[in-house]
Amino acid sequence: MSEPLLIGRPSDAALGDELLGTTWRAGGAGWKIAFAITGALTALLFALITYTVVKGIGVWGTNIPVGWAFAIINFVWWIGIGHAGTFISAILYLFEQGWRTSINRFSEAMTLCAVLQAAIFPVLHLGRPWFAYWLFPYPSVMEVWPQTKSALPWDAAAVSTYFTVSLLFWYLGLLPDLASLRDSAPTRRRRVIYGLLALGWNGKAVTWRHYKAVYLVLAGLAAPLVLSVHSVVSSDFAIALVPGWHSTIFPPYFVAGAIFSGFAMVITLVIPVRRVFGLHHVITRKHLENCAKLILVTGWIVAYGYMIEWFLDWYSGDRAEMYQAFVARPFGPNKIVFYLSMICNVGVPQIFWWTRARTSVWVLWIASLLINVGMWSERMMIIVQSLQREYLPSQWGDYSPTWVDIGILIGTIGFFALLFLAFLRLLPFISLSEMREMAHELVKHDRRTPAHGERHDG
């Protein structure tokens, strides 16, 4: 636990040059290849979306009884990934976790990219996506408005709110750095562009005062929001009476799962980034280790969720529930996802009991990938496996995806990567002003305590 948050004491200028430099430096061949690949996958995504809308969602594998499948799985998965960002930047901010500083901007951007992917599906999975706006209370000449006893309008509200608030939060934090970019822009064109984005920020003390106050307020608002969003998403299932969905444990269990997968995705992304940009002294092992610890914690909450579900299924004495939990999932169709989620979500995190695992970059990275797979499988287990085995055995059916389903999933991953790469190229992905603040804090602290780098974050 003696890992420092910042290795060395770079001067403001040096820090600025380093963190803003990522924006000015020209991308090498590696970047071009990366953009080419992700661009191609994005093209695939939009091609398949067009195909689906033109032909009808019959081109997917969904059926009766399995009315929801890949689309909703992807939606929940991406939304879940989106949770880490706001969790880090809001909740850890409220708890004054200094170590969040160097990864919060970055994970907020991840949140936005992920939520954008998620936002595709609630619309696309509709039979008539062109009427998706009926979920909002626009002044309708038909005088019929959304039925807000359904969880779907809740979803619409929660997801759009979550995206908007995350965007504001992220952009507000970005303002000072945009100003720095403006003031250090090498060319006039960039100066103008970043100048416009900076909205005329000039580091005035009074502005800083309001800024800090509001940043705290936004953090305070975002914190419960993070918890509410996946709770609402979980109610898409919890308010239904499908065996395997109808469960009160869902909200906390989904939130934990979301943060769990979110941190996994943060690690998946931060490790290559810090290597590519050589930011080992800014994003230190300590950051990775803390993420690993959180994964362990949330992983256990998820495991607890599983166990409570099993207990309640048994305790309820309901044959359908018991069959769902103890027969259909482990032995029924698509059982692979059951075992995947058990291994990846319950098994894999346990390695983080060992410090060496928490601090080994490779172990972390592989584990984070496995956890992302595991969480996707968990959603497939909950959504598809439950629908496959409902109350009337006469209507039991199974599900298998079509190539369109799989193509769209891969496409969203490509689109996500594309957006994220663009962010890395165009914006400072580490909050410069906060790093400076921290650096100065540390300098002052060092002055007071001679022993360097022994400082633990509060």
Binding site: G61, Q147, Q395
Partner: protein
């Protein structure tokens, strides 16, 4: 053909005095062109949907005055009495027409063969009318020809040498006349009557016993103990619709203390009748003779061992003996009846007659009349084949029959028929045989024709046209009249001349009244005195165990696998292959659509080393076919049953290549049961399109059952499934009258009539085999099949499952757009226009009765078939959910009529399509405040329950538990199975592939 004459609607159908039927008006002339205009107008009106239901005045755009027929008011449907004819047997039906478009077939309540119900085939006949692949004109050696010209040529000829006709069995008195006239004009003309489902054995049997062909008229409504020997009298026999109603009368038990009939069935594979049997005995088809002989011995008090060969010793034989003993005791002590199936050879029929004689059934529970069909009077296919082989046939006229597809190969019809110098073919559409003929004459559909036919009991039934012929068409009667020398045959003239020769107003009025009834009252045959004319020697040979190699003894089949053929419950003998409704109809026990399979017991499958969907190659009767395997619990071991009617190659795009053609395995001497020369797995797999893959309840108490004793001991055994669950929600719409449905599973035979009726009434699309494999079939009403007991002696429960219209509907509160909501009168309403297709409602429907339009299925439906659409039901577009509405269009129509007359809806005024068609009358519907309706009375019975009532959904559809009436000699154990494991072992009806 002149179609100027007008057919007459039932005066009763128009509920509204504002619109008298106007039957007294002179008919309007309609030529083809105008008829098409009418049809177009109809199609346009169909688009208007419900609006059409309340149109007051005809709009010029939609219905030009010049074309308007007096009794025709746009938007007001008319019912016409006519008949559908299957292999000669007529069923009186009422056909609903909208703007001169027949859209729906209902049974004619006045007709003895219908009593208001119909079979699946009657229902589907309306879609056959609109088959886009029907012949559009006559062909002369493949080139279009003028029908009238050909007819005149025919009429011009005399004394044709070697003239042969091949027809389906006929019962029409007019056709009988025509045949007589043909014989006069062409001496030596021969008539062969054939259908793959021939009933000659029945008549041969009675000829054997009574000395002349007789038609048994069963009186199930007076019978307490029925023994059915391979007789599916509730679904697969000519009078099944009527018999279902009669059977239900003694089977349905209104109160625990009431009495109910007992049913014994011995059959090779489950049938609707078998699924209602208190004691079903699985035996190979060829063994029925031994069973019948033993039963005769038993009822005559002789030892049955002589009749049952020692070969059948062992458990199976023991089971058979106990079954026979119990059956015999019931036959003797209660009002008994033995029914022998049409598939059985004449000896078994003879034995059946002897048993009925012995137990005094003849004259009480079974009486005899002369056969309605003239089949016995003509030659059979074998005779024609012989003539063909001998080259004695110069001119061959085939109508409707399709020998090149259906004839057993050993007859060599396919070889010799092309050698006939002149071959004339007539049918609705071209087919395998027509391609091999010189002339093709398009037949008119029954709904385009004038004619007559006899019901099973002989009742003369009228066939009247409801629509101008969509294409040039001639009726069989007219064709025969042409051969009789009439250059301009006219069905209407013939009918009128025979049944209303007079011209006075009185005669006309009588004629019109008869037409409106659709039948000649009192025209049923007089009962025949059936005295047994059977010498003791013959009796002895009958009663004795037949020795090898005669077909039948149990011993012969040991080790060898017997093939059993069965007319498909969906496409019959193949004549309905072009009807998508029937192709997609889930068959009662395997729920298989779009094809046939080699159905066998689990043991037999294990013996052959095959499982579901494995393709096997079957060799028999000189032919060989490959067909997928389907394991069917309740199927007799060492036996494979195959459905006829599939594997056609000239049936048009719908029917071609669906399933396997097993006719090539048949032989003329053993048309129904034959030993298989060989069965071997090919190693290939073909995933069958099955709509229900799991038949176990897993102890969830979904379809409840009890024996009569248990019911009497504990009348409220269903309490767990009707006691209402505690709820925090206050009931809504308390002050309104609610609608509700009650279904008695005790008398539901799973005949599927309701499924097709619903499809026809509600414009439900078909989706094709691939979509069915993806669980995307669209049936609003399905019949769930649950199986209790072991695989070898299962008990089946049919549970028609449709929207339950729950008071607390789980589907409603999850819909984000109010697309599904509750109406004050208790309906769970689906508003298609509001639906955006989240499918949340379907996920949350525990009954899974909601259907989703994955593609634009309506758009994909052939234009001509769209003419069948019910204009009062919205057609659904892509991406919306749909489901059973309790036929809301009928409810609202009655509502409107009632309001016009300032009155309340009368009890029984609203009848849903499924209720109307149900042969046994197992479905009742109505408003819950109409106390004296069956619907409400049934709901009061002890054995009522609501499916998944524990979920607190409070369904409006209530079921009555299935009550068994087992003999005390053969007690049935109602063990609750808890097959709580995944995997093929527990769910034989499920493809192994499904669990991966």
């Amino acid at each position: 053909m002149n179609r100027s004459d007008r057919s007459l609607p039932l005066a009763a159908v128009d509920p509204d005095p504002e619109f008298p039927p106007g039957v007294d008006q002179p008919p309007a002339e309609l030529d083809r062109r105008r008829m098409i205009q009418l049809l177009a107008a109809g199609a346009a009106l169909a688009g208007l949907g419900p609006i059409a239901g309340c149109m007051k005045k005809p709009s010029d755009r939609i219905m030009p005055r010049v074309d308007q027929r007096p009794e025709l008011t746009p938007g007001v449907a008319l019912d016409y009495a006519t008949a559908t004819v299957m292999d000669g047997y007529a069923t009186g039906v009422l056909v609903t027409t909208h703007e001169a478009r027949p859209t729906k077939v209902e049974g004619n309540p006045d007709h003895p063969a219908s009593l208001g119900a119909t079979s699946v085939f009657d229902q589907a006949s309306v879609l056959q009318l609109y088959d886009p692949d029907r012949a559009t004109g006559a062909l002369d050696r493949g080139t279009p020809a003028e029908l009238a010209t050909l007819v005149r040529q025919i009429a011009g000829r005399e004394r044709i040498e070697g003239l042969w006709f091949l027809l389906h069995p006929q019962s029409s008195p007019l056709i009988e006349d025509a045949i007589a006239r043909i014989r006069a004009r062409h001496p030596g003309a021969r008539f062969a009557f054939d259908t793959p489902v021939s009933r000659r054995a029945v008549f041969e049997g009675s000829r054997l016993v009574f000395g002349r062909p007789l038609e048994p008229q069963y009186r199930f409504d007076r019978t307490d103990a029925i023994v059915a020997l391979d007789a599916d009298f509730l679904a697969a026999m000519p009078n099944a619709v009527r018999w279902s109603r009669d059977f239900a009368a003694r089977r349905r038990i209104a109160a625990p203390q009431a009495d109910m009939s007992r049913l014994y069935v011995a059959e090779p594979h489950p049938t609707p009748t078998g699924s209602l049997a208190d004691h079903a005995l699985a035996v190979r088809g060829s063994e029925l003779r031994a069973i019948a002989a033993a039963l005769l011995a038993a009822v005559e008090g002789r030892a049955i061992e002589r009749a049952l060969p020692a070969a059948s010793a062992g458990a199976e034989g023991e089971g058979a003996r106990r079954w026979i003993a119990a059956a015999a005791r019931d036959l003797r002590t209660r009002r008994g009846l033995v029914v022998v199936g049409d598939r059985q050879p004449r000896e078994v029929h003879a034995l059946g007659h002897l048993i009925n004689q012995a137990i005094g059934a003849v004259g009480s529970t079974v009486v005899f009349t002369r056969p309605a069909v003239i089949e016995p009077l003509g030659d059979d296919l074998a005779a024609l084949a012989a003539a063909l082989a001998a080259g004695r046939v110069q001119t061959l006229v085939i109508a409707e029959a399709n020998p090149l597809y259906t004839a057993p190969p050993d007859l060599g019809v396919a070889v010799h028929l092309p050698r006939v110098p002149e071959r004339i073919y007539a049918d609705l559409a071209e087919n395998e045989t027509s391609r091999a003929c010189h002339w093709f004459l398009p037949l008119a559909h029954a709904m385009e024709s004038w004619g007559d036919a006899r019901g099973y009991d002989g009742t003369v039934t009228f066939i009247q046209p409801l629509i101008q012929p969509l294409h040039a068409g001639i009726t069989l009667l007219e064709l025969l009249s042409a051969f009789a020398g009439d250059p301009e045959p006219d069905g209407h003239r013939a009918v009128r001349a025979r049944y209303a020769p007079g011209t006075g107003d009185e005669a006309t009025a009588a004629w019109q009244a008869a037409l409106q009834r659709g039948l000649v009252t009192g025209s049923a045959f007089a009962l025949e005195v059936a005295a047994v004319r059977l010498g003791d020697a013959e009796r002895a040979t009958l009663a004795a165990p037949p020795g090898d190699p005669a077909p039948g003894p149990m011993g012969q089949m040991r080790g060898q696998i017997e093939l059993v053929f069965e007319p498909s419950p969906a496409v019959y003998d193949g004549r309905f292959s072009a009807i998508p409704w029937l192709q997609e109809l889930p068959k009662p026990f395997d729920k298989l659509t779009w094809g046939n399979a080699a159905r066998m017991s689990r043991a037999t499958a294990a013996q052959l080393g095959v499982g579901d969907h494995d393709v096997v190659r079957i060799v028999a009767g000189g032919g060989a076919v490959t067909v997928p395997v389907l394991i069917l619990p309740g199927h007799v071991d060492r036996c494979v049953s195959l459905e006829l009617g599939y594997g056609r190659w000239a049936a048009g795009p719908v029917g071609d290549g669906v399933g396997s053609n097993v006719y090539s395995l048949r032989t003329s001497d053993r048309p129904w049961f034959a030993p298989a020369a060989g069965i071997a797995a090919t190693g290939e797999r073909h995933r069958l399109a099955i709509t229900q893959e799991h038949q176990r309840q897993h102890g969830r108490q979904i379809a409840l059952e009890a024996t009569l004793d248990e019911y009497r001991r504990d009348p409220d055994f269903t309490r767990e499934r009707w006691q209402s669950e505690p709820t925090m929600l206050a009931p809504q719409f308390e002050s309104f009258f609610h609608w509700g449905m009650t279904i008695d599973t005790t008398i539901c035979s799973g005949c599927n009539a309701c499924v097709i009726a619903c499809q026809a009434e509600n414009n439900v699309p078909t989706v094709g085999a691939d979509q069915v494999r993806r669980n995307r079939e669209m049936h609003w009403l399905r019949i769930d099949l649950y199986r209790e007991g072991g695989d070898d002696d299962p008990r089946f429960i049919h549970q028609p499952m449709l929207c339950q219209h729950c008071a607390n509907a789980p589907c409603e509160y999850v819909c984000p757009t109010y697309a599904t909501q509750h109406s004050p009168d208790g309906l769970n309403e689906m508003i298609y226009n509001r639906c955006i297709g989240t499918r949340f409602c379907s996920n949350n429907c525990p009954y899974k009765v909601r259907r989703f339009n994955w593609f634009d299925f309506t758009e994909d439906t052939a234009r001509t078939r769209q003419l069948q659409y019910n204009p009062n039901v919205t057609v659904r577009s892509r991406g919306v959910m749909e489901k059973c509405t309790y036929c809301v269009q009928r409810i609202r129509a009655a509502d409107i009529a009632a309001r016009k007359q300032r009155r309340d809806i009368r009890p029984g005024e609203v009848v849903t399509a499924c209720q109307q068609v149900c042969p046994t009358g197992a479905i009742q519907f109505g408003r819950l405040d109409h106390d004296r309706t069956l619907n409400v009375q049934w709901r009061g019975e002890h054995r009522h329950y609501a499916v998944l009532n524990q979920l607190g959904t409070r369904p409006s559809t209530v079921y009555l538990a299935k009550i068994w009436n087992p003999s005390s000699d053969l007690p049935v154990r109602l063990d609750e199975d808890t097959g709580a494991t995944e995997g093929g072992a527990q769910d034989p009806a499920k493809p192994p592939g499904a669990e991966r």
